[in-house]
Subunit: 355 residues, 2 copies
């Protein structure tokens, strides 16, 4: 299970930020080593304060662990012919890192492995960076032939995921008085990307929009909705409209009921618990939005766990190595290692020949 | 049937461009009157040359006329209880303009009218500008109470439209040798928008992406695909990735088979016949793309005509005044007349009360 991860304690914030700002696949900087370390060091106290306010750390490890265990259990039922299944966590910027996952997998005698991104929509900055790290680590640790791989690289409109998301929107709407519910504006919010990544041809905005459309179709367009992008970092130009600016504008338009729906992350983390629940809530209050809420994250919702298990079960049943989009490098890509796949699973190759 | 329209002869290019550059809802300019006229005059000879090369004018009037007549005929069968139906064309920048349509409607004794955008995906720059012009003209011509209105303001993922689009992709793929077909990259291309419009909160990129996703799902993801945006005008910053740049990059990546799929217009016009078929084809040739093709436009395809008729029939049957998104002004909107609806159809209001 690939994800960005988060610091489990305030003490881990420094190393977490350092890994992030040293990752040229996420944040390309001039003089990456020196400037990356400098920015990470400078931001650490501010970010530590944010983690302190949400209980001292990110819950993403706990949620991913629970999701993985429940998913593996369900998979044993859904796909007995490939059982037993076991989940491992490989975070990109926090422990457990890819190395730890791979070492544990080897110790457990694993042979067949599915690299399963926990980002529903593809971006080279998220899933791409995690997969590239996986291939690099396999080579570095001399594990090139240790496992046979296939990749679940995206699932933006998978029906079971969409159903789980729609359920969370409904749960979120229950926070509003019944008479107000139909007037709630759903503000779908995804992490933004620098425009330079968009211009390279990253699939992210198309796939995020596809998720939004599928969720709204599932809800029979019950409410007005918008899609905006959060968490941009100055001074780069990022994809808009910015969630922050939209909240301000909605206040100015006298909108009374607004619910943010995080659409690109599946667990609670600093962007939901701090940025939306604290920072944007304050902003909304100042802007005059009377009822500002957030839809709950998917976390360990049984419908979502079922979605994860179904996505993997289908992947194994069809026997595909990856989605039909995985091998398509962005037209503007300059990273030669993008879209690799080391030691592809033979079972998947054979299934493909049969299908 | 609302659309931008196009000059039917080279002589009409000047007035067409002038209307376009005087429309502050499409292209807001400082000193709109003077600067708009100046830019239009300066561009006229260049654009005239382009129209000369595609047969002396835009075919959009002919296609829209045929679509409308066939649609109205089919509607009489699909929805006999609302028959007879008749289609009128209201172009924003070329004849027949809105005034002409309204005058003809009055002369024909029309009472109930559906403002039907021919842009599948909403943008304030396209459908929004056309509708605002409609409401303005109704007031100016003293026809405020002459017709009862409802609006079909978007249909980005309507199943019949998606099916027609998927058919055109398949027809387009037939231009490639059978052995090459599966390796064709589908380059969906939509007209771009200035980033300022995106940041205001325009729904366009979300809806265009939704169409792309729906078409690819219908095609069972048979081919690799990308979404890009064409026809940006310097010096503003527009939404990317740019179709032009993507073609260049695909050439550099040694891609041999590329097919552009126009996804935001339903008829052939200068952006397909000249920009894609001539300009981009030359560019692709220079970039080394051996087989560069375009999917045919929907034009008078019977499946598309059926889609148009079904969209209207459903609209009349459900009795809605507009989509659930129409009344949601962009969060950053500064145009107070946006999302108006003059003299709403009582039949639709009653149906709504019953549903």
């Amino acid at each position: 299970m690939l994800n960005l991860g988060g610091p489990r304690s305030v003490d881990e914030v420094g190393s977490y930020l350092e890994r992030m700002f040293l990752d040229c696949e996420l944040i390309p900087l001039p003089f990456q080593e020196r400037l990356g370390r400098f920015i990470a060091r400078r931001r650490t106290p501010k970010i530590q304060a944010k983690y302190a306010r949400i209980g001292g750390g990110s819950p993403i490890y706990e949620w991913t662990k629970r999701q993985g265990e429940a998913m593996a259990q369900l998979l044993d039922q859904l796909s007995p012919e490939t059982a037993p299944h076991k989940s491992y966590i490989a975070f990109r910027y926090a422990e457990p890192l890819t190395e730890e996952a791979l070492m544990q997998m080897r110790a457990d005698g694993v042979r067949r492995a599915v690299a399963f991104t926990q980002y529903p929509q593809w971006s080279c900055s998220t899933t791409g960076a995690s997969l590239n790290e996986l291939w690099r680590e396999l080579i570095r640790l001399n594990l090139r032939d240790a496992f046979e791989w296939s990749v679940i690289d995206r699932w933006p409109a998978h029906q079971a995921f969409v159903e789980a998301m729609a359920k969370k929107v409904c749960e979120g709407l229950d926070q509003f008085a019944p008479a107000e519910r139909s007037s709630v504006l759903l503000l779908f919010s995804a992490h933004s990307l620098p425009l330079s990544v968009i211009e390279r041809g990253d699939a992210y905005p198309q796939e995020v929009a596809a998720t939004v459309q599928a969720v709204m179709e599932r809800l029979n367009f019950s409410n007005e909705f918008l899609l905006a992008y959060q968490s941009d970092i100055k001074p780069f130009k990022w994809l808009g409209p910015s969630t922050e600016q939209v909240i301000r504008n909605l206040g100015a338009r006298k909108r009374k009921n607004v619910m943010v729906v995080p659409i690109a992350f599946t667990s609670d983390h600093i962007e939901t618990l701090h940025e939306i629940d604290i920072e944007y809530a304050e902003l909304a209050h100042e802007a005059g939005i009377a009822n500002f809420k957030r839809a709950p994250a998917l976390n360990d919702d049984p419908l979502f766990v079922r979605a994860l298990a179904e996505i993997v079960a289908e992947h194994l049943r069809v026997g595909r190595l990856h989605s039909s989009q995985y091998k398509l490098r962005c037209p503007g890509c300059e990273n030669a290692m993008c879209r690799s796949l080391l030691n592809p699973a033979k079972a998947a190759l054979q299934a493909r020949a049969v299908v």
